[in-house]
C-alpha cells in the first residue's frame, strides 16, 4: 500500500491518538510510586485498548480469507491494519511501562516488536518495489505461473533449435508437467502452439547450424531450466550479448532470425527470474509477519486472562 495523500486522515488520527495516550501516560507514570504497571487501572486501560487494536489488525487476515464479507472496503481495512497496528504498539508499550516483565510478557514484546518491524519493512518495500518491477519487468506475469512459463519457453526453444539443427541430444525435450499451455488448456495437455513460423524460405542444411546446436545444448538450454545455473554466462547482459553476437558471426544469415528468437526467449527468462527474486523480497516478510502475528494474538489472549487473574 502506497503511503500517499489518501492516508492523511489515518496519519493524523494515529498521531492524535498517540499524543492523547502519551498525555495520559506521562502524569500517570510520574505519579506512581513504583512506576507504571500493567496491573494498575491506567495500565489495564492501555492494555485493553492495545489488545483490541491488535485483534483488529489481526482480523485483516480473516477479512482477506473471506473477501465476500461486506465489512468495509479492503483498502480501509488495510489502512486500519497499518495505522492502528502501529498505534497498538505504542499503547502496549505504555501498558507495560517500557518493561519486559516476566517470561511470557518478554516473549510477547519480542514477538510484537518483530511483527511491527516486519510490517514496517513490508510497507517500506511496497513504496518502491512495485514501481521498480513495472519499469524493469515489462514481461511480468503471474508469479505462481513463472515455473510453468519457464518450461514452456524451454519447449519453444527446443522446438526452434531442433527445427533448424536437427534432433537435440537431450533425454526429453519437454517434461510432461511442463508440456501444457494456458488459455484454458487442461493440466498436462500438450502445448498446441509452437514457435512462430520462420520467414526464411530456404534454410541451409542442419550441419551448418552445428555452432547453434552446440551453444544451445551447452549453455542456452541450461539457462531455460527452472533453476538458473549459478555461473552461467547468460546471467550477465554483456556476456549474453557477446554469445549471441558470436553466434550470428558463426552462422549463415538465414539462421540469424533463429538466433534473434532465442535471444528474446532468454530475455524473457531473465525477466521471469528477476520477477521471482523481487517477488520474494516484496512478499517474503509475510512469512515472518503473518505467522508471528497469529502466535502473538494467541499468547496475548492467554496473558490477558492470566494476568487479570492475579
Amino acid at each position: 500500500m502506497l503511503l500517499d495523500g489518501a492516508q492523511r486522515r489515518w496519519v493524523i488520527g494515529t498521531v492524535v491518538a498517540t499524543a492523547v495516550a502519551t498525555a495520559a501516560y506521562v502524569p500517570y507514570s510520574a505519579s506512581r510510586l513504583n512506576g507504571p504497571s500493567g496491573g494498575s487501572w491506567p495500565g489495564l486501560a492501555f492494555g485493553v485498548a492495545g489488545f483490541t487494536l491488535m485483534i483488529y489488525a489481526g482480523a485483516l487476515g480473516a477479512r482477506r480469507k473471506v473477501p465476500t464479507w461486506r465489512v468495509g472496503r479492503a483498502t480501509t481495512w488495510m489502512k486500519g491494519h497499518l495505522w492502528l497496528g502501529l498505534l497498538s504498539y505504542v499503547l502496549i508499550l505504555y501498558h507495560a511501562g517500557f518493561a519486559w516483565g516476566g517470561t511470557l510478557t518478554l516473549v510477547l514484546m519480542l514477538l510484537f516488536t518483530v511483527v511491527i518491524a516486519s510490517g514496517i519493512y513490508g510497507v517500506i518495500l511496497q513504496q518502491f518495489m512495485p514501481r521498480l518491477m513495472m519499469e524493469r519487468l515489462p514481461l511480468e506475469t503471474v508469479y505462481e505461473e513463472i515455473d510453468a512459463i519457464v518450461g514452456q519457453l524451454r519447449g519453444e526453444a527446443d522446438a526452434l533449435v531442433g527445427s533448424v539443427a536437427g534432433p537435440l541430444p537431450v533425454a526429453e525435450l519437454l517434461p510432461p508437467e511442463q508440456r501444457r499451455g494456458g488459455g484454458g488448456l487442461a493440466h498436462g495437455e500438450a502445448l498446441t502452439h509452437g514457435p512462430r513460423p520462420l520467414t526464411a524460405v530456404v534454410l541451409p542444411p542442419p550441419s551448418e547450424a552445428a555452432p547453434l546446436k552446440d551453444a544451445y545444448v551447452r549453455e542456452i538450454r541450461a539457462y531455460l531450466s527452472r533453476q538458473l545455473p549459478r555461473n552461467g554466462r547468460l546471467g550477465h547482459r554483456r556476456e549474453r550479448d557477446a554469445l549471441f553476437a558470436h553466434l550470428r558471426t558463426m552462422l549463415p544469415t538465414p539462421f540469424h532470425e533463429v538466433v534473434d528468437e532465442l535471444q528474446a526467449i532468454c530475455e524473457e527468462r531473465r525477466q521471469l527470474a528477476l520477477q521471482k527474486r523481487l517477488h520474494h523480497w516484496l512478499h517474503g516478510w509475510l512469512l515472518v509477519h503473518a505467522p508471528l502475528s497469529m502466535a502473538l494474538l494467541l499468547l496475548a489472549a492467554v496473558h490477558a486472562v492470566m494476568s487479570i487473574r492475579y
Binding site: L33, N34, S37, G38, G39, G61, A99, G101, G102, T103, L104, T105, P138, L139, T141, V142, Y143, E144, E145, A148, I149, Q152, R180, G181, G182, G183, G184, L185, H187, H193, R196, E261, A264, E268, H279, H280, H283, L286, L287, A290, P291, L292, M294, A295, L297, L298, L299, V302, H303, M306, S307, I308, R309, Y310
Partner: protein, 527 residues
C-alpha cells in the same frame, strides 16, 4: 511494431486459468507457518502447564528471599479473609496480595506512632520487578511523607519536616544530648555527655609510653609502626563486631587495662591489681587481700621456708610491718605468690568466707562481687576471733586500707571516671559512664563497607582533647562521596530502616518444612 511473441494474447495463453486453485509453495509455506507458529506457542504454554510451573505468567522474577514461593501464586495472591482454617479464595480474578499474606512471615511494625497513615505492604514492597531486596526502595516512597511531614492531630513532628533527598534538604545529623536532640552544626550545644575522661589526641600520639610493652603483650594488632615510632591506631580500641558493621563498646579489660591503665595500688603488693569494678567491690577485694596477707605473715613458719616465695613473703611482711611466725602450716602459701593470681585469690577468699559464715550463705546466682561483699557484713559483726595473740587482722586491715583506697580511688579511678560528689557514704561513688553504643540511632551504618577510608577522614580524633567533643562526621562529610553525580548511592534506605527490626516476628515460625516445600495440590488445578 510490438514483438509478436510478447503480445498480451500470447502471454495470456501461457497462463493456466485455474492456477489460483493450486497450492503454490510461497502461499503454502505462509499457511503452514501461520498454523505452526500458534501451535508451537500453544504447545509451549501446555508444556509449562503439564509440569505445573506457573512462572511463565509472572510479571517478573520475585525477590531472592521469595524464590521458594515463586511458582506458588496462591501463597501470596489470596483473599484477605483466608486463614489457616478457611482456605483463601483462589479461583477468583483480581486476587491482589493482601497484608495478611505478608504478615504471615513478616510483622512489619508501624513506622512511627504519629504517622497519619500506614500504607499497604505492596505499596512499597513491589514484587515481580526483579528486585533482589524488596526493602531497597526509591526515595519517593519516603519523601511522599517526609517532604512535608504531617503527624496525627495533636502530635508535633520530632524530626525535620521538609526532606526531599539526602543531597537536597536532608538536615545535619543530630545526636542525643541529655533529653534533647542537638544537631552537629550547633557546635556550642553539641557535646558528648559521657561521664568518662578521655583525650583522643593523647592516645594517638606517636611514641606513646607503654606501646612497646603493649605490643609484646597483645601483639601488633591495632598498633602501627610509623617512622617516628609506634602509634595506636583507632582499631585497637574501636573494634567491630563479627559482621564488621558496628563498632563494639570499648572494654577496660581488653583495651585500657593491660600494660596501660592497670589498677596497681601499692608497691608492697607487687603484681597485684585491683579489679575494674564498683568501689564496694574494690573495697572488699582490698580488705580481703589485706586480711589474707596478714594471716599469711602471722601463720607459723610462713617465712621460715627456704623457698623463693617465702623470701618474697618475708620481704612483703617486713614492708608491711608484720612480725612473722616461725612454723609454716602444711601447704601454706603467701597470697602474693599464688600462681593463679587474682582469680585464685578470689576463689580462696570465697571458700574462706563460706567457712566463716555458713549461716549467711548467699544465693549461688548472686554475682561474684556480691559474694565478696559478704565479708563486709563480717566486718561489721565479726565472728569470734580464734587468735589470741598479736593485733587483730581486721583492725590492721582497716588501718592499711584507708591509705591504699585513697591512692586507688583518687589517682586511678578518677583518672578516667567522674566522681559523684552528691553521693554520701564511706566509699566514693562514680557516675555511670553512659558512653553511647550508637550515636545515630535512627540510621544504620556499616563501618565494614567504608573500610577503604581512614578513620580520621571522618572522625577528627587527632585534634580532640576533650571528652565532650563529638567526633561524628557532619552530613557534609558523607556528601563528599554520597553525591548525586558519579558518587556513592544517596538513597534513603542506604541509612534508614522503615520498620523496627527489633519487633520482627519470632524466629520460631509457624510453618513446617512440608508446608513450605511441597507443591500445593491446587497448583495444577488453578492453572
Amino acid at each position: 511494431m510490438a514483438d509478436p511473441r510478447h503480445t498480451t494474447k500470447v502471454r495470456a495463453k501461457r497462463i493456466e486459468l485455474s492456477y489460483f486453485q493450486r497450492s503454490h509453495p510461497f502461499r503454502r509455506w505462509r499457511l503452514i507457518l501461520s498454523i505452526a507458529a500458534p501451535v508451537i506457542a500453544g504447545g509451549w504454554l501446555v508444556g509449562y502447564a503439564a509440569f505445573g510451573d506457573s512462572r511463565l505468567y509472572t510479571s517478573g522474577p520475585v525477590a531472592t528471599a521469595h524464590t521458594m514461593f515463586g511458582t506458588r501464586c496462591a501463597d501470596c495472591h489470596r483473599s484477605a479473609a483466608g486463614t489457616e482454617d478457611t482456605p483463601p479464595t483462589r479461583d477468583a480474578f483480581f486476587v491482589r496480595v493482601s497484608d495478611d499474606a505478608c504478615t504471615t512471615c513478616h510483622r512489619g511494625p508501624t513506622h512511627h506512632e504519629t504517622q497519619t497513615f500506614s500504607p499497604a505492604c505492596v505499596t512499597c514492597h513491589l514484587e515481580h520487578k526483579g528486585h533482589v531486596v524488596l526493602a531497597a526502595l526509591d526515595d519517593t516512597h519516603c519523601t511522599q511523607c517526609h517532604r512535608d511531614l504531617k503527624t496525627k492531630p495533636g502530635d508535633t513532628p520530632m524530626f525535620e519536616t521538609k526532606i526531599n533527598a539526602f543531597t537536597g534538604t536532608h538536615p545535619e545529623f543530630a545526636v542525643q544530648v541529655g533529653d534533647r536532640r542537638v544537631r552537629l552544626d550547633r557546635t556550642t550545644e553539641v557535646k558528648d555527655t559521657a561521664n568518662v575522661q578521655l583525650n583522643h589526641q593523647k592516645h594517638l600520639k606517636v611514641g606513646l609510653k607503654g606501646l612497646d610493652q603493649l605490643r609484646e603483650l597483645r601483639g601488633p594488632h591495632g598498633i602501627t609502626q610509623t617512622p617516628k615510632g609506634l602509634q595506636l591506631s583507632c582499631g585497637f580500641c574501636h573494634e567491630t563486631d563479627a559482621s564488621r558493621a558496628t563498632i563494639q563498646p570499648v572494654s577496660y579489660a581488653r583495651h585500657c587495662g593491660p600494660a596501660c591503665h592497670e589498677l596497681d595500688f601499692d608497691g608492697r603488693f607487687s603484681g597485684v591489681a585491683a579489679p575494674h569494678d564498683t568501689p564496694a567491690i574494690v573495697h572488699a577485694f582490698l580488705r580481703t587481700l589485706l586480711i589474707e596477707t596478714f594471716e599469711q605473715c602471722q601463720s607459723p613458719g610462713a617465712t621460715g621456708a627456704a623457698a623463693p616465695a617465702s623470701d618474697k613473703l618475708r620481704t612483703q611482711c617486713s614492708d608491711l610491718g608484720l612480725a612473722a611466725k616461725t612454723e609454716a602450716p602444711a601447704g601454706g602459701a603467701p597470697a602474693g605468690s599464688q600462681p593463679d593470681g587474682d582469680e585464685g585469690r578470689s576463689r580462696r577468699l570465697l571458700r574462706r568466707g563460706a567457712a566463716e559464715t555458713k549461716d549467711e550463705e548467699p544465693p549461688a546466682e548472686q554475682p561474684r562481687g556480691r559474694r565478696l561483699l559478704r565479708g563486709g557484713a563480717a566486718e561489721e559483726a565479726p565472728k569470734a576471733e580464734t587468735r589470741t595473740a598479736g593485733p587483730s587482722p581486721l583492725a590492721w586491715a582497716s588501718g592499711e586500707i584507708t591509705g591504699i583506697e585513697n591512692i586507688l580511688f583518687k589517682q586511678k579511678c578518677q583518672f578516667c571516671h567522674v566522681k559523684n560528689d552528691e553521693a554520701k557514704g564511706p566509699l566514693p561513688q562514680y557516675l555511670p559512664t553512659r558512653i553511647p553504643v550508637r550515636w545515630l540511632r535512627h540510621s544504620v551504618f556499616d563501618h565494614g563497607v567504608h573500610r577503604p577510608i581512614q578513620c580520621l577522614e571522618c572522625h577528627k580524633a587527632s585534634t580532640s582533647t576533650q571528652t565532650a567533643d563529638v567526633l561524628l562526621p557532619s552530613v557534609s562529610v558523607c556528601r563528599e562521596c554520597h553525591r548525586a553525580v558519579q558518587g556513592a548511592r544517596t538513597g534513603c534506605v542506604e541509612c534508614h530502616v522503615y520498620h523496627d527490626k527489633s519487633q520482627e516476628t519470632d524466629l520460631n515460625g509457624r510453618h513446617t518444612i512440608r508446608q513450605l516445600a511441597e507443591r500445593p495440590p491446587s497448583t495444577s488445578r488453578q492453572r
